[in-house]
């Protein structure tokens, strides 16, 4: 087994995939706590479907760099979703459901009607569940990913205390003169960035798992915002690396293997947390 692993690690494409995987896992875990606590878990899911729709359009238009289209469309939808949540003509979760299934249907429709590819269902399946495209990344894609993740991490660190205040008690923050609307917008844009990034790794149907599981696992074991955030980042990166190595060794699909590891770790954390409380009292 070690020999196989070393054999693969001698290749540059494996290293590229690992670097990108670690960065994506790190970014996606950071905002997980906020999303779970704000009851926004489904926004991630909805946005990933939007990204799928945008990707379908991009591939039909034969864009060489699909990011140019996917990124702005997803960011726009993220902003719209948060805005409708406040205006409440159509309630938040209904709006998310509408946009997400709508985008999914249109994406598939467009791919079917206009695509010249011989293997449509294969294409669709790989966009939804992730593919081995993470193993064929070009240098430019790797750099784009590094730049985007670096900005997500930087934004998170700079606005850490503001994000905490807005998540914990939006009304209080607003009453004391904090621009909560602006920070909501910031959170929405960052979520959209993360989703577009993570689509490379696990495909659009599985992104939410990458965002919520590490946060939920960390919340079983820790009770301070800072330690929960740090623990969820560590858990997420560890699971991603483990999942990718397993998938390389056993030839399983990358995305679902990572998510499976995430689920297993969540179960383990639940058990540990239960023991912790038992011993504590």
């Amino acid at each position: 087994m070690w020999d196989t692993l070393l054999f693969y690690l001698a290749h540059a494409f494996v290293w590229k995939a690992l670097i990108v995987g670690v960065l994506i896992a790190l970014c996606s875990s950071l905002l997980g706590v906020t999303l779970v606590l704000k009851r926004f878990s489904f926004i991630g899911d909805g946005l990933s479907h939007v990204a799928f729709g945008a990707m379908a359009i991009a591939s039909v238009m034969k864009l060489t760099n699909q990011m140019v289209l996917i990124l702005p469309v997803t960011v726009l939808c993220a902003v719209l979703l948060l805005r409708t949540g406040q205006n409440a003509k159509i309630k938040g979760d209904a709006a998310i459901a509408m946009i997400s299934v709508g985008a999914l249907a249109f994406g598939y429709l467009i791919m079917n009607v206009f695509s010249a590819s011989a293997n449509i269902s294969g294409d669709v399946c790989s966009t939804l569940f992730g593919s081995f495209s993470i193993l064929t990344l070009t240098d430019a894609e790797v750099w784009l990913c590094v730049a985007l993740s670096a900005s997500v991490i930087l934004i998170f660190i700079v606005f850490y205390h503001k994000i905490f205040a807005v998540t914990f008690d939006e009304t209080f923050a607003k009453a004391t003169g904090i621009q909560t609307g602006a920070y909501q917008l910031l959170i929405a844009v960052v979520i959209a960035l993360i989703i577009v990034l993570a689509m490379n790794l696990v495909g659009s149907l599985l992104i939410s798992a990458l965002v919520i599981f590490p946060a939920l696992s960390a919340m079983r074991l820790f009770y301070q915002f800072k330690s929960v955030t740090i623990a969820s980042a560590i858990l997420s990166v560890t699971c991603a690396v483990a999942g990718m190595l397993i998938s390389i060794l056993k030839g399983t699909p990358v995305g679902s293997t990572i998510v499976a590891v995430d689920v297993a770790v969540f179960a383990a954390c639940c058990l540990l947390g239960w023991c912790q409380r038992r011993l504590g009292r």
């Binding site: 606590l37 205040a165 914990f168 209080f172 009453a175 004391t176 301070q224």
Partner: protein
């Protein structure tokens, strides 16, 4: 000196008035109690005073020493907070957020302010505990300490004793009274009329008829007598 003057205020949502004809004045050091039946617009008034929503008509004037955004607020608990993983220290510190402006992190001054207010509320030993593991009374003290970090002058409390047992309620009232004696202006909404009337200095009654005056005047007014009679009846 007046720190908050409200003139003929009409509050509500989407142009639909919930309460109107509200006029009152709060001086520095006052303890104003806002009472009224459910649905009479107390919470809407509070949200308007805090600029969380715009008034339909009327004026809210702040005195020279009280700027907009300088009212500390003790909101009713939200669902999110009930399972939020955060330590007491983190929550109290978040009250200092308005002071740091565009700086990303808290400085020494903010940390000292938070420590001072935790001491004032008697929650220093709980500093590293998780908020969701605390009792209701302890949670309210944490939120009070946070509100005190945001302001030194004026506190607005929305149903601070809801869901607390009588002993903890009395303790919390004493704590609030002590803050008032230290010079903090208090505006409080409560259902527990019997309890607050022994502490407050002024009463604002919201409903079909709006009444504002000192506590003694209110107790002798027809509005006050009628309201208290209903409240007493409801309790039996």
């Amino acid at each position: 000196m007046s720190c908050l003057t409200v003139k003929d205020l009409k509050v509500g949502y989407d142009g639909h008035a919930v309460a109107e004809g509200i006029s009152f004045q709060v001086n520095a050091g006052d303890y104003l109690c806002i009472v009224g039946e459910n649905g009479s617009g107390k919470s809407t008034l509070i949200r308007t005073l805090l600029h969380l929503q715009e008034p339909i008509s009327g004026e809210i004037l702040y005195g020279e020493d009280l700027k907009r955004g300088e009212i500390g607020y003790l909101p009713q608990q939200t669902v999110v907070q009930r399972d939020f993983p955060a330590s007491v220290r983190e929550i109290v510190l978040s009250g200092c957020l308005p002071h740091i402006g565009i700086r990303p992190f808290y400085g020494k001054a903010e940390k000292e302010l938070a420590a001072e207010n935790m001491e004032r509320m008697g929650i220093t030993p709980l500093a590293n505990r998780c908020y969701r593991d605390l009792s209701g009374g302890q949670q309210q003290r944490v939120l009070l300490a946070r509100a005190l970090c945001a302001t030194k002058k004026c506190l607005l409390l929305d149903e601070p004793v809801a869901g607390l047992d009588p002993k903890v309620t009395a303790e919390l009232y004493e704590l609030i009274e002590r803050l008032n004696k230290e010079g903090v202006t208090i505006l409080m909404i409560s259902h527990d009329v019997g309890g607050i009337l022994s502490y407050c200095s002024h009463v604002l009654h919201i409903g079909k008829k709006v009444y504002f005056g000192t506590k003694e005047e209110y107790l002798n007014s027809s509005a006050g007598k009628a309201f208290l009679a209903v409240q007493e009846g409801g309790r039996d």
